[in-house]
């Protein structure tokens, strides 16, 4: 029916297959799948599977996974615009999972790592990498709260504007990583480069095509 080209190329057929499959898969299982890694991490931490410093290992892993999820959420639009792959229906789940992972990352830091309330405040106010990480988290709160159909209807065009805050948040998240490592390390810089690249794809220069 929609197949107008006489012989669609391999690439087109692959994209079509992906889109058709995506249409058939509901988004809700992502929430269940998304709960698996943190639960596994916690059990591993309890049973010695994360080495001798399980608190740091969990903290770091949750933060890194959250960054992956945020980056994945940034990939949805470019994938659709430049490759024709439509995964839009999964974006909300990915974004919300990123938020929950960051919350887990924060809770591990508060409850298992720093533990002492006065030190927590001092850290948030005095340590730039923590201030920045907290900022990234706080910016995501209104986004998580409005990640539902009712809010989209209620907010109208303002919803799109509001959700552009994720661009700021993810850059702050990567900056948080850059600032916390010791010495000159490449890994957090690669994340930042990927994020800036994904954001650049949203510039009008690339949009025109």
């Amino acid at each position: 029916m929609t197949d107008t080209a006489a012989t669609p190329g391999l690439r087109d057929r692959a994209i079509q297959a992906v889109n058709q499959t995506a249409r058939k898969i509901p988004a809700w299982p992502l929430y269940i799948l998304g709960a698996v890694p943190p639960v596994w991490l916690f059990i591993a931490g309890l049973t010695g599977g994360l080495g001798v410093d399980p608190v740091k290992a969990m903290e770091h892993q949750m933060g890194e996974w959250a960054l992956w999820l945020l980056i994945a959420s940034l990939c949805i639009t470019p994938l659709r615009r430049f490759a024709g792959v439509n995964l839009l229906k999964f974006r909300r789940a990915i974004g919300l999972l990123a938020f929950f992972y960051i919350m887990g990352h924060l809770l591990i830091w508060l409850v298992l790592d720093v533990q002492i309330p006065s030190q927590i405040w001092a850290d948030i106010l005095k340590r730039p990498y923590i201030t920045i990480g907290m900022g990234a988290f706080v910016l995501l709160i209104p986004l998580a709260l409005t990640s539902n159909n009712w809010s989209i209807r209620k907010l109208g065009p303002r919803w799109r504007q509001l959700h552009k805050l994720v661009y700021v948040s993810v850059v702050l998240g990567a900056l948080h990583f850059i600032l916390l490592v010791k010495g000159f390390q490449i890994e957090p810089l690669i994340y930042m480069a990927a994020i800036l690249g994904l954001l650049a794809l949203r510039l009008p220069v690339f949009r025109r095509r």
């Binding site: 010695g48 790592d113 010495g183 000159f184």
Partner: protein, 301 residues
């Protein structure tokens, strides 16, 4: 003669290996009940220094020449060739030259020292070192008057140390002490842990241990010791002068710009272990505070 430092911690404070194994088995049994990491700290002796198990000490290391993750050194340091090993001692000494490690050890009086090891990243563990005083080695080399500092250098072998591919620091790793710090009886040249030869990840075959300073001062796999007048090059200070100072004495009152130093995570205490309050000079104030009389420790961090 170097003054022999009388340890506050006697030989019998070290957990003998067989007892230590029993303790592990006990913990392993508790782990079966899902209590492993909760039961851990409860079994620790209430006072004195209870050494961490050998596995903790050999699997949780900062040795960036082998990679920046805590587990990289254990993974890659096996490739480090430690035989033969030569330490060049030069600068303001009467007997400069290349000292063979066997020769150094043959002339040394090896003792056991149980020290708390406090990392600048705000964690600590307790390590039963074997080694000899740096003072005894320096005396053998003959320190000339006028020498004020001791500079150290870590081996740099790109073919054996994958982390050297990355410019994390200005390699080779370098550290230094003031001469009086170097001559202090607490300052150790370690050759072993738990009576076994040091493994690569712990700085084999010869490393410095300065227990009242943050761990990065305790330079690993030393190939060169230089006596000099000027303050030595310090790799971390060079990388970030705002965050790492020459002294780097453990001090709960002086925060690192990126983290508080008031408390420390106790390695091996599990998921729910509590932090301990960091002691001034890592608990060695009685022995070393007088070295810094009149020095503003906030400025000279």
């Amino acid at each position: 003669m170097a003054p022999i430092w009388k340890s506050r911690f006697k030989d019998n404070d070290v957990t003998p290996e067989d007892m230590y194994l029993n303790r592990r088995q006990l913990i392993a049994g508790a782990a079966g009940l899902g209590l492993g990491s909760i039961a851990g700290p409860a079994l620790a002796a209430p006072e004195g220094l209870e050494p961490n198990p050998y596995e903790d000490i050999t699997n949780y290391n900062n040795y960036y020449e082998f990679g920046t993750s805590k587990t990289d050194p254990a993974k890659y340091a096996g490739a480090l060739t430690t035989e033969p090993w030569t330490v060049k001692i030069d600068g303001m000494v009467d007997n400069p030259g290349d000292y063979q490690l066997e020769d150094i050890i043959a002339n040394a009086q090896i003792e056991e020292r149980i020290y708390r090891f406090r990392c600048v990243e705000a964690w600590s563990m307790v390590i039963p070192w074997n080694g000899f005083t740096l003072a005894s080695l320096l005396e053998r080399a003959g320190v000339q008057s006028g020498a004020k500092h001791v500079a150290f250098e870590t081996v740099m072998r790109p073919e054996e140390m994958p982390g050297l591919r990355y410019p994390v620091l200005d390699w080779p790793y370098r550290e230094g002490l003031r001469l009086d710090e170097a001559m202090h009886p607490l300052t150790l040249m370690a050759t072993g842990i738990y009576g076994k030869d040091l493994l690569g990840q712990n700085g084999a075959p010869l490393r410095l241990v300065v227990p009242w300073k943050y761990g990065f001062k305790s330079i690993k796999s030393i190939v060169r010791i230089t006596l000099q007048t000027d303050e030595p090059f310090i790799s971390w200070k060079d990388a970030n002068v705002q965050e790492y100072g020459f002294y780097s004495n453990v001090n709960p009152e002086v925060s690192h710009p990126r983290w508080s130093q008031a408390t420390e995570r106790v390695i091996g205490s599990g998921l729910f272990g509590s932090r301990r309050e960091t002691d001034m000079f890592n608990g060695y104030a009685e022995e070393v505070a007088s070295l810094y009389d009149g020095l503003d420790l906030k400025k000279n961090f």
